[in-house]
């Protein structure tokens, strides 16, 4: 059982409500999303312990020692910002512990720029049934369990 923690504080929403057809249809995997608090210098934490196999300013993937991949995506269509407004606190290939700060960013600026700052957290290649305990929609603190991946 893998605990996947909330990378940031905010409101838990269903993946189906994410304004992006790839995430809402769970094309890359099931998961949950967080509508983050609008505070400047918001931190995005590692949702699991593992290797930071991909690090973009707006998105990162951590792979656990047993091969589970978790994608954290900071906002929708934020690849178009080319890293502007995102500060990295780790490097690709780093071993990171759950809760470690990976990126800091400003969801309010993303929103002002016309993009959704919603943060999908995706269990890559998982089956929907594999996500067992899920945090109910509503407020969540950074570090609280968002969902559990049974594997």
């Amino acid at each position: 059982m893998l605990d996947v923690i909330a990378p940031t504080a905010g409101q838990v929403i269903d993946l189906a409500d994410v304004p992006d057809p790839v995430f809402s249809a769970a094309l890359v995997g099931p998961g949950a999303a967080i509508d983050p608090e609008r505070s400047a210098n918001t931190q995005a934490l590692a949702p699991v312990t593992g290797t930071l196999v991909k690090l973009h300013p707006h998105a990162f993937i951590i792979r656990t020692s047993d091969g589970a991949g978790i994608l954290t995506h900071l906002g929708i269509d934020t690849v178009q910002l080319n890293g502007d407004g995102f500060q990295l606190h780790a490097a690709e290939g780093d071993e990171v512990a759950a809760g470690a700060v990976i990126v800091s960013w400003d969801p309010a600026t993303v929103e002002t720029g016309g993009r959704s700052p919603i943060v999908p957290v995706i269990a890559l290649d998982a089956s929907t049934e594999a996500l067992t305990v899920r945090h109910e929609p509503g407020p969540i603190k950074a570090g609280d369990v968002l969902f559990q991946w049974s594997r």
């Binding site: 057809p21 790839v22 249809a25 094309l27 890359v28 196999v53 991909k54 973009h56 707006h58 998105a59 990162f60 993937i61 991949g69 994608l71 995506h73 690849v79 995706i122 890559l124 290649d125």
Partner: protein, 76 residues
């Protein structure tokens, strides 16, 4: 053909590509003519899904997106 070649062909070939850019899990492609894009062939090449909106075609390929994009750019 390898995956990158298959995807490039299914997108209508080099001449049809305006721009290709990897996101975390998808290739964002701008094409000249979206009717030349073969969605079935993209799925046969391993795409989980294809989302077309005007001239922008998003090919969902998973976390290997940046590697595949680099391979495609090498072919162009």
């Amino acid at each position: 053909m390898d995956k990158a070649e298959q995807i490039l062909a299914a997108l209508g070939g080099t001449d049809n590509i305006v721009e290709i850019e990897p996101c975390a899990t998808r290739l964002r492609t701008e094409v000249h003519n979206s009717s030349l894009v073969d969605e079935k062939a993209l799925k046969a090449a391993g795409a989980f899904g294809v989302i077309t909106s005007g001239s922008v075609v998003q090919v969902v390929v998973g976390p290997e997106a940046d590697t595949i994009a680099t391979d495609i750019e090498d072919l162009m």
